[in-house]
């Protein structure tokens, strides 16, 4: 019997994973259903735009600035191996807009926002505030989940757009001050090379990642266990699951947008 124990454990883990995927899918469907039916709490949506979008700007901006600078250095060093140092502006632009802007922006927002959403909602659950909402004839899905989903899905593309600009500026700054690139030529190469789809594909990824961040924060918050341990676990799970889903979704979206 002991020989079969690992298979039993594998089976239980698989079933548990499938059950979790099912729960998340049902939660997402329920959230989408609530999203298209009234009432819509505009004040709460505006509040979440401020919390999720505006207050994430410094984190996303600094991440993009340093990433753009480091990317320029790496491409210059790598390109030098086959005399292709001149491609720095083009590769920085495409790398930031298509991949690093949305992915790093999404991951930074996951760290900042998914954890905060999960901790806030889990604490509300533990202190009976979610029950209190229901007794006040207010659906927690509508009042807590929908505003966060809307705000995160719409503000992430804006954050990505800002992050893209700052990231490209980081590359420009390093290239022109450290690597000897001409300012005008750098800008001309960047704008001449970039296509609309390079930018819009990144913004679409941002919207998908924003949805994932808010969904994971709300899901783990609403399903948290009791006490401080439950809140802590919900917070950790929200960040980990949002980060993994962002990376998985990034691959799938890249495959959908650019393969062929």
């Amino acid at each position: 019997m002991i020989l079969f124990a690992p298979f039993g454990a594998l089976g239980r883990t698989t079933l548990s994973l499938l059950a979790s995927i099912g729960q998340v899918a049902l939660f997402a469907l329920s959230a989408l259903r609530h999203l298209v039916t009234p009432p819509i709490y505009l004040r709460e949506i505006a509040q979440q735009f401020l919390t999720i979008g505006w207050l994430s700007l410094p984190v996303v901006g600094l991440t993009a600035l340093f990433t753009g600078g480091a990317l320029a250095l790496q491409i210059y060093a790598g390109g030098a191996r086959f005399n292709a140092e001149a491609v720095v502006p083009q590769i920085v632009a495409i790398g930031i807009t298509r991949e690093l802007g949305p992915v790093l922006g999404g991951l930074m927002v996951a760290g900042r926002v998914a954890s905060a959403i999960a901790a806030e909602i889990a604490t509300m659950k533990v202190t009976e505030q979610i029950d209190a909402l229901r007794t006040l004839s207010t659906d927690p899905m509508k009042y807590l989940t929908v505003p966060r989903l809307i705000a995160a899905t719409l503000s992430l593309p804006i954050l990505v757009a800002v992050g893209d600009s700052i990231g490209i500026f980081g590359g420009y700054l390093v290239s022109t001050t450290r690597l000897g690139f001409n300012e005008a030529a750098y800008l001309s190469n960047t704008t001449g090379f970039l296509e609309t789809w390079d930018v819009t594909s990144g913004l679409l990824k941002g919207a998908a990642f924003g949805f994932i961040v808010a969904l994971m924060g709300c899901f783990h918050g609403m399903n948290s266990g009791r006490g401080a341990r439950g809140v802590g676990r919900a917070t950790t799970q929200a960040v980990v699951s949002a980060s993994i889903l962002i990376l998985a979704a990034n691959y799938l979206l890249t495959e959908a947008f650019f393969s062929a």
């Binding site: 009432p39 029950d131 209190a132």
Partner: protein, 247 residues
């Protein structure tokens, strides 16, 4: 006469643990029922079933002769054990929460005025309106929770352990407030508590829950003359008796 709240054969289990084993109970209009019983006997589960926060496994709940529904919530007010104030908004917005949203939404100015009036009714000065719940003491939070419970003038109010965590004097104040406000409003109330001073201050009727059943039910005046050994042990707080306790 139709009972305001009528429970029939209400059952609820969590896994193999049978918490409610067939609760049948009528609460009349303007009656103040206090449900007593030891810890873990299902008092909170009973309350949450009536409120629709937990779905019972069997039985029926009727409000004014109609099956309880989401719509019933509009006639309910609830004071939670820890007050459950929303800590992301100031006290007045907590009190006026229902008045600021939903079908009977009022302008903010009007809702704020009502909230301040309700806060004053429960003994809180208007200055507390703009404070956040974390800036209030436990007793003040309970009062603010009470103001929120009565803000929309509900026909039915539930109180979950209204005096837990308060000193005896503040407990007395909260008990008196509940008693006064409930009789002013003519509301029907269900209170769950362990606190016998609350029972005597608030109740018109008392029900004792034990092992998932209503073990004793009667007017509060009969409480001291009832001979039921379980009830006697609970009232006297004796460690020895028919109610088994862990030592």
């Amino acid at each position: 006469m139709t009972a305001k709240i009528a429970l029939k054969d209400l059952t609820k289990s969590f896994g193999s643990k049978h918490v409610l084993r067939g609760i049948t109970l009528d609460v009349g209009k303007s009656e103040s029922l206090v449900v007593i019983g030891g810890s873990g006997t299902g008092k909170s589960v009973l309350l949450k079933c009536i409120l629709g926060l937990i779905k019972p496994d069997g039985g029926s709940i009727q409000i004014d002769g109609q099956p309880a529904s989401i719509k019933s919530l509009e006639s309910f007010g609830m004071l939670f054990q820890g007050a459950a104030l929303f800590d992301s908004m100031p006290v007045w917005q907590n009190v006026a929460f229902r008045l600021l949203r939903g079908p009977s939404k009022l302008p903010r100015k009007e809702a704020r005025e009502i909230a301040i009036a309700k806060l004053q009714r429960v003994g809180l000065p208007p200055e507390t309106a703009d404070l956040y719940p974390s800036e209030l003491s436990g007793g003040m939070q309970k009062r603010a929770g009470l103001a929120r419970a009565i803000a929309a003038e509900p026909q039915i109010i539930f109180f979950d352990e209204p005096t837990t965590g308060l000193d005896p004097i503040m407990s007395g104040v909260i008990n008196d407030l509940i008693s006064e406000i409930v009789s002013e409003m003519g509301a029907t109330t269900i209170t769950i508590t362990h606190d016998m001073s609350s029972v005597r201050a608030i109740a018109t009727h008392v029900a004792m829950l034990h092992r998932g059943h209503i073990h004793w039910h009667g007017p509060v005046g009969d409480l001291d003359t009832a001979q039921d050994p379980h009830l006697r042990q609970f009232i006297s707080g004796a460690a020895q008796g028919p109610i088994e306790t862990l030592r």
